[in-house]
């Protein structure tokens, strides 16, 4: 078994340099009134990223151990052939699509992933706002089929790291559009801005890691509207219910605390729903899910349009 490096560790200096370059460009262009970065938000994002590496060191071994254990039940001996690296990268990205989609549609998974969406900014520091509690979800079940097919675990960890590195550069407002062929196949800043948006029309879209084709294949792709297009509105990033706090511990654990409170207070028949249903679900329908938000938004859009539609 080869001793592969963690590519994310090797990429850290590049992350820092690119972030500094983005900061300078934001300052020079005075983008959004130079609101592209905010010191407390940046500090929170980077501390959350740092905490994520600590959490990974503490708990990441559990998931790796589980995958290594499962490897003994593999169907094929794939090994480290050249084609296997490419296949592993593509299939791992498909697995990422699955775990990421689950991260938005199952509250238990969302509790771990929400940290990444908790900034109201969208810049390279946001990319580093990574989970502390991912090991406490069952995200690894999405990687399990690859292990059982026979892809070596170190290979999967390595391509997973490359996947994460790829996703760094797409967290920026500085790049509007890539060339058409690239936008058609790959995840890009434009596609991922939609994913981070709280505008109702953009909710629950573009779960891709590297290849946007998965969203197109599974019906979750939404293109970003350009200024001047019908229905265009500036993107609002973050959470539907913004935290209003720069406290990193609150950002990391607020949803877990919310789940705990809801499960405790709910009637027995509804307890599991607060863990396994979509974020915003409640047994008495007193809260909004992304589906109800979209429905209200559509109703409001027609309400606003109605007076104009009436004849004078």
């Amino acid at each position: 078994m080869p001793d592969l490096p963690n590519p994310v560790d090797l990429a850290v200096p590049a992350f820092v340099l690119l972030m500094l370059a983005e900061i300078v460009v934001v300052r020079v262009r005075a983008l959004s009134g130079a609101a592209g970065y905010e010191p407390r938000d940046t500090l929170a994002s980077l501390l959350l990223g740092f905490g994520s590496t600590v959490a990974g060191a503490l708990f990441g071994g559990l998931a790796v151990a589980a995958l290594i254990w499962a490897y003994q039940f593999r169907l094929f001996e794939i090994g480290y052939a050249g084609w296997a690296w490419i296949a592993a990268f593509v299939l791992d990205d498909l697995a990422y699509y699955g775990v990421h989609r689950a991260g938005h549609r199952i509250r238990w998974f969302w509790a771990a992933h929400v940290i990444h969406h908790s900034s109201q900014h969208y810049n390279l520091s946001t990319a580093l706002r990574q989970t502390w509690t991912g090991a406490f979800t069952l995200g690894l079940v999405f990687k399990l089929p690859l292990v059982l097919l026979g892809f070596p675990v170190p290979m999967l960890l390595f391509v997973g790291g490359i996947n994460l590195i790829y996703q760094f550069w797409i967290h920026t407002e500085l790049i509007q559009r890539m060339p058409g062929w690239f936008e058609a196949v790959m995840n890009t800043p434009s596609h991922h801005r939609v994913h981070h948006a709280t505008n109702p029309g953009y909710l629950d879209a573009n779960y891709a890691g590297v290849f946007i084709v998965w969203d197109k294949l599974f019906g979750s792709f939404v293109p970003e509207k350009r200024a001047g297009e019908p229905g265009f509105e500036p993107i609002r990033y973050g959470l539907v219910r913004q935290l209003g706090s720069f406290n990193v511990l609150w950002a990391a654990f607020h949803e877990w605390i919310g789940i705990g409170r809801d499960v405790w207070a709910a009637p027995w028949r509804a307890k599991l729903g607060y863990l396994l249903r979509e974020p915003g679900w409640s047994h008495d329908a007193s809260r909004d899910t992304s589906a109800t938000i979209k429905a209200k938004w559509a109703a409001r859009a027609s309400y606003r349009a109605e007076p104009e539609a009436l004849p004078a």
Binding site: D9, P39, W297
Partner: protein
């Protein structure tokens, strides 16, 4: 865990945030008089604004909705956050400001300096 990498990362974290502060990024945002009502509707999906009072420094606003509820807005760094509140509001006088409690410990209270606020209630 690579301790040298961890120490270097932590130093880079503090330095980067320091540079952002030194360059003065994220300052100067404000909520405009004509912006508050629309913001409330954008941030709270089923809220329909009737009238708004904005803090004289543009840091916060209170918007009354058509159904009698209120939207409390305030800048959180460079971007606005909102909470929907029901009447009666929990308001305290704090010097020349009115301090409105959102009922959430983490969200805290929001100061609005504008004497017209009372006309909204």
């Amino acid at each position: 865990m690579n301790w040298a990498l961890a120490a270097g990362s932590l130093a880079a974290v503090l330095a980067t945030a320091g540079i952002v502060a030194w360059l003065g990024l994220g300052r100067g945002a404000r909520i405009g008089e004509d912006q508050a009502a629309r913001l409330a509707e954008d941030l709270l999906i089923d809220f329909h604004s009737r009238e708004a009072i904005v803090d004289r420094d543009g840091r916060s606003a209170l918007v009354r909705g058509e159904d009698g509820s209120f939207a409390l807005l305030r800048l959180h760094g460079a971007h606005p956050v909102a909470r929907r509140l029901s009447a009666p509001l929990s308001i305290e006088r704090d010097g020349d400001a009115f301090r409105i409690d959102a009922g959430e410990r983490r969200f805290g209270s929001t100061a609005i300096r504008n004497d017209k606020l009372l006309t909204l209630l």
